[in-house]
Each structure stands twice: as C-alpha cells, then as structure tokens.
Symmetry: C2
Subunit: 425 residues, 2 copies
C-alpha cells in the first residue's frame, strides 16, 4: 500500500480538526482509498494544545526543517492563517518538493501566482479546496466537474458570520450591533470583526473562485467591496414587502468582460440562495452547458474545513504528478479583461419631508440620469413629518445611479439618501 507522510503547520481550530480526521479515519482511508496517510510532524509552539489533541510530543517542533528535510513527508498542510510566516513556510516546503494544502484564503488570494510559479519549478502540488467555503467542494466542482463549460457567473454566500447576522436581523428584527455582539459571544465572529463584516473574507474567496472559474487572474483590487455594517432592519423589512431576502454576496460575472464585487444584495425569496440560513454557506454557479448549479454546506468549523483539507491530502497523495490548471499560465492581469463599472438593479430608500410634489421631483431626477423605476413604495409620514420613499430600479449603471443620487440629495425637501442596496435576480 502507498504510504504518504503528512506534516501540519499549526494545530489550531482547523489544524486540530484535520489531525483528528486523519488519525481517526486512518484505517477507513486505507480501506477505501488504498493509501496510508500518517501525520509525521506538527509545527506548533503551543504544546498544551498538542497534548489536548493527543499528539505524540516526539513529532512536535517549531523548526520547519524537521519537515523540509524529511523525505518521507510528501504533503504539508498550512493552518497558520495571515500572510507571514505562512507564506515563507509554504515557499520553503514547495522548494523542498513537498505538495502544499492550504485553507488560508487571504495569503493564497494575495500570493497565488508566486506560489504557483515556485510549485511548478519544484514539481510540487498546490491545493486549496479548504480556502473557499470550508467543507463545500466548490473548488473540485469548478476544476473537475465543469470543464465542458464556460462559467458565466458565480453568486456566493461565502461568509458564515455575515450570513448569521443577516439571518437573525431578518428573522428576529434584532439590530446589527446586537447581532454582531451575539455572533462574537458564540464564536462566529472575531473580536475584531472587520475581515468578515466589511467583506474582506468574501473578497478573498471571490478572487480565488473567479480566477479559477474564468481562467484569468481576478486580483483583489478588481473587486468592488462593501460590508454589512450599514444595514438597517428597516430596509430588510421593506425588502420583505417587496419579496426580497438580504444576503451578503460575492458576485462575479464573465460575459464579455469580468466584473467582480462583494456587497449586500436583495435576492428574490424564491432564489435558492435566499433560503440559505444562519452560518451555512452556498455558491450558485452558472455554466453555459450545465446551467445553474448550487453547492451548499458549512463554510467554516474544525471538522467541515478539516474534511476539505483531508480530501485535498488524499487527492494529492493519489496523484503521481501534481494537478495543474491551465489558467495559471496567465500571470499578468490585463485591465482590458475587466468591466470598468457594473450594472445592477437598485433598492433606494430616500428620506423626504412631507411636502407636496416631492415624489415627482425625485422621480424626475432619476429620469434625468436614465435611471428607470420599476416600483415605488411611499410610507406614511413619521411623527417628525419625515417619510421614507423606496424605489426599486430597472437595470442601470452604478455611475448613473451615483450621479442621480447626488442630484437627489440637492433637492429641497430631501433629507437624505438613507439606503442603497443592489438587487440581483
């Protein structure tokens, strides 16, 4: 039987989950996949954590050369997170001819071309199923199940923290700040929640998935990003009246050109993504031949993400030569491949004073910038004689919308543009 040594860089949450699966399922994997996978070294300074996991202290150290110089170790799994020392250690391992498996979306999305180059020069593999949407096998789906398709669009709920917060705001009417605090208490959100709530985490995944799907590198600076911290329960409720569910989506499209963005979106209630609740994730992909596909599951957690790492380890161990994707030949980012601006439908809430003729004035301003209106809801005035008007537009460009809103803000009687949320079908 083929025997393959594995090393783990870090045994925090996902590293620990991976250790647990690889040890508990060792016989099971031998039986089913015909490969004996042994964890031969663990790079970790927290020896208490290693003891908790029952790791033999003889295989624990803080010296990467215990891994790079061991010829029996063929595969290295990285769980440090962040850029350094993850990046440097991965490079050292690749240079030693080890295949690398990583769940590190930030480091990977920022350094993919460099890592790929080094992997190729050293005949090493580079696998990253766990970097996007935890246990959901979306990377495999894109690379091994959709080869006969031009992927035309990706829409993903790829961040559990924000989906938990938005689901609670929607189901229970609790405000953003309270939901965030609860998410932190439950361990769904970090003490510094920026990476999740401001859409950075979703942006990293958007970059990786889009690059793989469109076979062209989609770097972070080509992705428009907006988080959920400005979202009000009020707008979620008006959205419900209109038949919409609010989600933070990573969206990218690849028709003539590529556009990529991360922002809150109103989706029709009937859209399969609308029923993805709580900390679950899902990615909705359209291929020109297969049509719409959706992949749903847990996007985070020790065992779900560990499960994705283990699938990559077994895949890597089974291959005689590393898996390559042709798109990676395209190292340069070509500005001409990307849309300069995107088009969307919009939900706009404008607060106005309760004076006659105000709806006509605002409507005229939209018309002036060719923003065509699909639906309007005018609500009763509140105590202070201010009232919200909600507009849902037809497809228009972001720049037309922004120009119209600037104009509208100058109208006498308009208090503020209180909310702007994009609408997708």
């Amino acid at each position: 039987m083929k025997k393959v040594g594995v090393a783990l860089l870090g045994v925090g949450v996902v590293g620990g989950g991976t250790y647990e699966i690889l040890t508990k399922k060792r016989e099971y994997i031998k039986q089913n996949d015909g490969i004996d996978i042994e964890v031969m070294h663990v790079l970790e300074r927290n020896t208490t954590r290693c003891d908790e996991l029952g790791i033999n202290p003889a295989i624990v150290s803080t010296d990467i050369t215990n891994i790079t110089k061991n010829p029996d170790i063929k595969i290295v799994c990285e769980f440090f997170g962040g850029i350094e020392p993850a990046r440097s250690f991965i490079i050292e391992c690749l240079k030693a001819g080890k295949s690398v498996v990583t769940a590190n979306k930030e480091m990977f999305s920022k350094n993919w071309p460099e890592l790929e180059q080094i992997a190729r020069e050293n005949n090493a593999g580079l696998y990253f199923e766990a970097s996007c949407v935890g246990g959901v096998p979306i990377i495999h789906a894109l690379t091994d199940s959709m080869q006969g398709n031009k992927v035309q669009s990706i829409k993903g709920i790829v961040n559990g923290t924000t989906n938990y917060i938005l689901s609670r705001m929607s189901d229970e009417g609790v405000d953003y700040a309270t939901c965030l605090k609860d998410a932190q208490a439950l361990g769904y959100a970090e003490a510094n929640p920026t990476a999740d709530v401001d859409g950075f985490d979703a942006m990293y995944k958007c970059s990786i998935l889009s690059s793989l799907a469109y076979k062209k590198r989609v770097p972070l600076d080509k992705i428009y990003r907006e988080g959920i911290s400005q979202i009000k329960v009020e707008d979620i409720n008006y959205g419900k009246e209109l038949g919409y569910t609010l989600k933070l989506l990573a969206i990218s499209k690849n028709y003539d050109k590529i556009e990529a963005r991360v922002h809150p979106v109103f989706l029709p209630n009937e859209h399969p993504l609308s029923s993805v609740k709580g900390s679950f994730n899902a990615v909705y992909v359209n291929g020109d031949n297969v049509g719409d596909l959706m992949f749903y599951g847990r996007g985070a957690g020790a065992l779900p993400t560990g499960s994705a790492i283990v699938s990559d380890v077994i895949f890597a161990a089974a291959q005689d030569k590393p898996r390559r994707f042709a798109w990676e030949e395209v190292k340069e980012v070509n500005d001409a491949d990307f849309e300069k601006e995107f088009s969307s439908k919009y939900y706009v809430r404008i607060t106005v004073k309760d004076v006659s003729g105000i709806l006509a004035k605002v409507s005229a301003a939209f018309e002036k910038f060719n923003v065509s209106i699909n639906a309007v809801i005018q609500k009763d005035a509140k105590d202070n004689a201010e009232l919200p008007i909600i507009f849902v537009t037809h497809l228009t460009t972001e720049s037309s919308m922004q120009a119209a809103l600037k104009d509208i803000e100058g109208i006498d009687g308009v208090v503020e543009v209180a909310a702007l949320i994009r609408v997708e079908d």
Copy 2:
C-alpha cells in the same frame, strides 16, 4: 499535447448534447486541460440525426468493431439507455481495454459488479457521473470530496419529472393526472411514465449513490419503492397547513445498518430540499465530519447531462490509470448489512363518518400499536357527513404503522385510510 480518441454509442438527446460540447469546446478543453479530445466514431443507425448534428458520415456506423478495433479510441460513451444492447456493447469495449463513460442508470445499477469486474480484468476505467442527477457532480463529491467522512445519510430529489408534477400540484392545485399530461406534452415525462412516476428511476439512482457512499453494494431489491400516482392535492394542502412540502425522495441511511427507500415525503418548509422546484434536482448528504452538504442543479437534459459526461471523459483522459473504488471489492450482498424495516414519522389521513367518539377510537388504536401521535387536525364534515382526520405521528416502525392502520380500517365509523405519507426532518 495528449490526444485522446472518443467514441459515442448513440447520439440521441444526451449523446447529441455530448457531441455538441466535445466539438464546440474542443479548443477550450485543449487550452484549459491540456488534452485534445476528438470524437473518432459514432455508433448510430439514425443517419438523419447524425446529419442534423453535422457529424461527418465517414465516422458513423452500426458496427461496434469499428470502435473496439481502433487503437486510437481510448474512451467510449454509452447513450443507448435500457439494458441491451448497451450492456453487451459496454462489455465488448471494456474487453478491448477502452474506458467507458455511461449515463445509463438502469443498466448500471443492475450490472455494476459484472461491469466493474470486467473493467478491472482489462485495465479499463468505468465512469458514471452522468448516471445520477444529470449535470450535478454528486458522484465526484462522494468519491473525491468526502473521503474523510463516513456518509450517514442521503436524501435526494433525483427525478425531475416527479418534482415538476409535485411542484405544480402544490403551487397551482392542479391534480396529478392533469400535471402528468402537461409534463408529457412538455417532454418532461415519457408516453409511458412508469419509470419516473412509480419511482424506478429514483430507485436506480438511490442504489448507485448509496453503494458509492456506504462502500457496500445496495442492490435494487433492498430498496423500498413507492411512486407519486396516488398523491392528492388535498394532502399537499393539509401538509401546507402543517408546514410541510411534499417531495419524492430517494432516501438512504447508514447508521448501524443501511436502509434505502424511494417514496413521497413531507419535508419541513425550511429544509433546503423544500425549495427545490420544478424540474431541478438536489441531493442532500450528511457526512460525519463535514455535516450537511447539498448539491443542486439540472438532473436531465442534453447539455447538463452532456456536461457531466464530458467531465468524466476529461477525467478519464487525464488519468494514467483508471480510478478504482475500494468498495467494489465487496461483491456479495450481505443481508445483515440492511435494516429489516425502517422507522419514520407519518402523516395519515383517515376518512370517518361524523359520529361521536370516532376520534377516541382511532387514537386508541394507534396507542395499542405504540404509535405516538404528535398532531391531529380534524376537519369539518363534508355534505355527505364524512370528514377527514389528519394525524402526524412521532417516530414509529413501518410494521407498527401498518398494523395500526389495519386495525383502524376495522373500526365502525372509519370509511378508509385515505393517505399515508412519510415525514422526514
């Protein structure tokens, strides 16, 4: 560049779709996967169809030896459907060392061990992603993304015809017979709809998916099967009142023992499978580490199913040796692996005469057989003084339920047991 010759056995709907993808995407696949795939022979007697598809008549014949004797043809895709001549032609191709890709669920579920044996003896590959749920890559997910999991259950909407019929019955209140006629007119159902509406098609897929997931052969005769032809709009509507959506599911579970069944099921509205509408399919899988996953997409059609065939062709072409699954060593079916009977919650509609004490009598009969009741809805009497009582039970065994119903049918005042539908969480 690696060059691989492919032959197509039949170019009907899916065969035609596959031909179209392989020819239109030939350059695209060369670029991305580094393999030049050429359709070198088509076995088809309908030359008009071949002309429609623009197939060069020089590569069309009805002689299988034009394929088996051509050393440049490495992969054969079978689209005949049915058992013969599909089975015999596949065996001839495997014996000639060709890898075989098939979408033929009936033939495959019935003959898998034999075909696998011959494939192994001749160092040929055997691929069947397209046999289950068309374009949805559920086979790949089970084999290449869940290796670190014991798969514990599968619940699938795996038949588009029945899902279309049940969706329409539910959304529009149209009766079964009318929906079936419309499905036939739209080409969603065959003139003889038995394979779909009586659950045979779902049973074939249940066998293939369960065998693969549980690494033990689950033959057709171990699968309980019940179709949708007895379903009444009335019960779908009562189910709605209870918060349920009706679906035809292929269900299998693998805790202590394996149980497998195909029948209509009431699912809670919040279950992700409940929002899978119309001709879409979805498979909900639970792994002990990854938790719940769902795979959603088009389960039929020329291009979606062709897309799955093409992914198998590319996978087969890229491998230097055929892919094997350890479970297939288990050729014998062991009765001890299977549950003798299954447990479920039940929805029961009983028609009774409007006489006093009838509810108590029926309830007592359930109690006698240890069937515990979770909810009861008693409706007003109709004109003829008969009325429906709906019971939803807690978990109970099928045999207890059947015994209770037999008893209940004998109660004076009970007109009939009008509906029995299983309920899943």
